[in-house]
Symmetry: C2
């Protein structure tokens, strides 16, 4: 099992990103590592019990700080609240469920960033290629099949 790679200490990761280490941030970091693709609300729900005075705004602060510091990546599935994940810099993409909003990771088909290049850049200075596969997750597909039978 991949447990060989010791999970980086939250405090070290946060400090390494140039941010101060606080209880809130450590909690958010841990929650995000254990449950990637979480929305701010999800993270808040997870860290709330562990903190003295939890606040949704602090979670937003932490998430935004992480995103800005390059610790976390922001995912914004169309029409849904934004999600966050800690995997960064490995150019992976996402599968998103149009029904329930579930998101799963997919390794890039090509393997190196940017994994695609547009045929015409229209003068844009391109920095990133984002790929999202839309579909229906296994659970929702099962629900649909059950409903239509």
């Amino acid at each position: 099992m991949p447990a060989s790679e010791p999970a980086l200490e939250p405090a070290a990761a946060i400090r390494g990103a140039g941010l101060r280490v606080t209880d809130s941030r450590s909690a958010v970091f841990t929650a995000l590592r254990e449950h990637p693709h979480s929305s701010a609300d999800d993270v808040y729900a997870r860290v709330a019990p562990a903190l003295e005075h939890p606040s949704l705004q602090s979670v937003y602060n932490a998430l935004n700080d992480f995103a800005e510091a390059g610790l976390a990546r922001r995912i914004e599935p169309a029409g849904r609240p934004q999600l966050f994940e800690l995997r960064v810099g490995d150019n992976h993409h996402h599968l998103a469920c149009t029904e329930c909003g579930a998101v799963a990771d997919v390794d890039c088909v090509v393997g190196e960033a940017p994994c695609l290049a547009p045929s015409d850049t229209h003068g844009f200075r391109i920095t990133e290629a984002e790929v999202t596969f839309w579909g229906v997750c296994a659970d929702c597909a099962a629900a649909q099949d059950a409903a239509s039978s």
Copy 2:
């Protein structure tokens, strides 16, 4: 009916999608054809002068109806208001400017839908692959260069 006209009559397109033809919808359709990648606000600003009693909600209604009927496609650049365009079914992708939100079309590098397949579907029933290239458009790049020089 030959659908080979350079510009399909708005009324025909709308009726063809199974929607009733109204002034609002015709105006929205025309505005969208002339200015693709428009937000609801943009469209509203364009159609308002031509209508008697314009309303932003009607524009939203029309756009959502179009999207649902397959007449228009909804684009949702992360963190920006949603945009709409009339090109549908041709599997093209987008270039988006991280600075100003400008969007440009790019033909799919592969050419047929879905143009990519994930390495692992995680049980998803995939219906669409969406590719967005993020970067800085020519105008914003020029502004940045000017500011840093």
